[in-house]
Symmetry: C2
Subunit: 331 residues, 2 copies
């Protein structure tokens, strides 16, 4: 008779979408992965209801697929934008969600009647890539997530690093130009103000002003406000000159930010997760070249810079991993 | 009968001076601390001779002071500018010394006939502050040394962090203005290009051009090329307006660099070592204010920014500590 498999549910809460799924304890596969819109504008209580709904769907689907019972689920790992407090499970501030001091973990746990843990979304994505993605076995790892914002995570010797007050890894809010663009965080010249999704779109719109030929405008039916980072990557793949320049500039900004991380940390790997990885070599090649220009050679030589291997599920896989780590003490 | 005390010698090799001394294993006191000029221009072999000479003086003086024997010395910890390779004991490149691939550790060890270890000087200074200085018991620590260059060290959970290829902690070579001042490392806009000793002096000279009243010129007998960071701090203490502005600007640049470190690492403490600490509150108060403006509040609230407590000996104390750690496996 085989030992019964047990499962952990992972939830990746984003400003746009909630992604969730289940994994067996050994992380060998993703089950019942699904995505629903977050609909933040409907308020925190409604977002919790949506999280609970997707968790119940994941549970039902997993039970059906594996024949397991509800008691076979150990609990729920939640990744959320934050600063947040892991001990109390409270999201201290999440700009994209409009939340302040919201007790997310316990709201979810009490409604699904399962244990839950809370950690930062970018940290979860990094840990996901470490557990089951592009960074398996990497000793010293920096992860970056590029999306609406730029987040990050740090793994030292197999341990996810949280810092003195649980906010370590805010790599998007490192200054690359101390008198530069205003950032949402209130500071000037943060990497996020140059290389986040919205910043990429904004730079594309700026580049279009007064420029001759570009397919970017056509791609959004003439409404440049609809340009996103994805539009830019797509146009770049189709050899559009304006889009290609925006991608090269993005590589340059990211290269400056990543060079800082490499000179400070001397990591074995920088793994970049999120939609930006769709840009492929058009982004990664000039990015690696910029890092090689800027950072110390022994540190550059020791570090691989790679796209994440779990573009859709790193956050969920990492949320499962953080729950497992916190509950069982090991991966 | 008391157990015989044993001793470790520490050497802090700098571009200007060599500092050395001995400590008993428990680090309870500094013995026979002394400084001699490095005289780098005389060549690597001569510098090694000078290191050997100062070590022999430290040994002789310690034997005289404590009544111990030569066999009571466990060995020599050496802190050197670098990138360097701790395993082979080779200094890969030290700009201020003009060295490339120099086997410093074994050259010294073979001549004094003692075991030796080699580590980065700024890392040693950080570890010295952690072992016996301003950062005792601090869990997550960033150290910065401000001198001819800007170096750094990282302590996680009581362990000095070295990174993937032994070059972690190059906090002076993080970009605070990606299109800014040229740095000695070849890059643009590094923190070191704004806030190192020579950069502070250079900014003071720039400020004097066309400026009316300042005691800075008098202090160097009219020869502004003789202005150093120390001149600036001294003039600032005497309320000189130009010097005070230079110190405030230094605080602003350091504040941007330290904010990056705080947002990435969320450390419990940033300890700043080196001559710059002579500037006192005139530097540290605007520096803390700049960090408060720039970095995330939960990270700022968790982090003390303090001057080192071992301004003259942190590097030696840390070199002793790294030898002890490597040889005995614990502090």
């Amino acid at each position: 008779m085989s030992v019964k498999e047990r499962y952990i549910i992972g939830v990746d809460l984003g400003g746009t979408n909630i992604v969730a799924g289940a994994m067996p304890l050994d992380g060998s596969r993703e089950i019942a992965m699904r995505t629903i819109p977050t609909m933040t504008q409907t308020g925190a209580d409604n977002v919790v209801t949506r999280i609970v709904t997707i968790i119940e769907e994941v549970i039902a689907h997993t039970m059906k697929e594996t024949g397991c019972e509800r008691s076979d689920f150990l609990g729920v790992g939640i990744g959320s934008p934050g600063p947040l407090n892991r001990e109390t499970g409270v999201v201290i501030a999440a700009g994209n969600l409009g939340w302040k001091n919201f007790p997310l973990r316990d709201e979810v746990a009490s409604r699904v009647k399962l244990d839950a843990t809370l950690d930062n979304d970018a940290r979860c994505a990094t840990f996901g890539e470490y557990w089951r993605g592009a960074a398996v076995g990497v000793r010293n790892l920096i992860g970056m997530t590029l999306g609406t914002g730029i987040g990050g995570g740090i793994v030292f010797d197999g341990q996810l690093y949280h810092g003195a007050s649980d906010v370590a890894g805010e790599v998007g809010h490192t200054t690359i130009d101390s008198t530069g663009r205003r950032c949402n965080c209130g500071n000037y010249g943060c990497l996020e103000a140059y290389a986040s999704g919205p910043a990429i779109a904004e730079r594309a719109r700026e580049a279009l002003e007064g420029k001759e030929e570009s397919i970017l405008s056509e791609m959004v039916g003439g409404d440049v406000s609809r340009i996103t980072a994805q539009t830019v990557y797509e146009a770049s793949k189709r050899e559009d000159a304006v889009a290609r320049q925006v991608v090269r500039d993005t590589a340059r900004f990211l290269g400056a930010g990543i060079s800082n991380l490499i000179n400070i940390f001397n990591p074995d790997m920088v793994v970049i997760a999120g939609g930006v990885t769709q840009a492929g070599d058009a982004l990664f090649e000039p990015l690696r070249a910029e890092v090689r220009r800027r950072a110390f050679k022994p540190a550059v030589d020791a570090c691989r810079i790679v796209p994440g291997a779990l573009p859709l599920s790193a956050g969920v896989v990492g949320a499962v991993a953080t729950f497992k780590m916190k509950t069982l003490g090991e991966l």
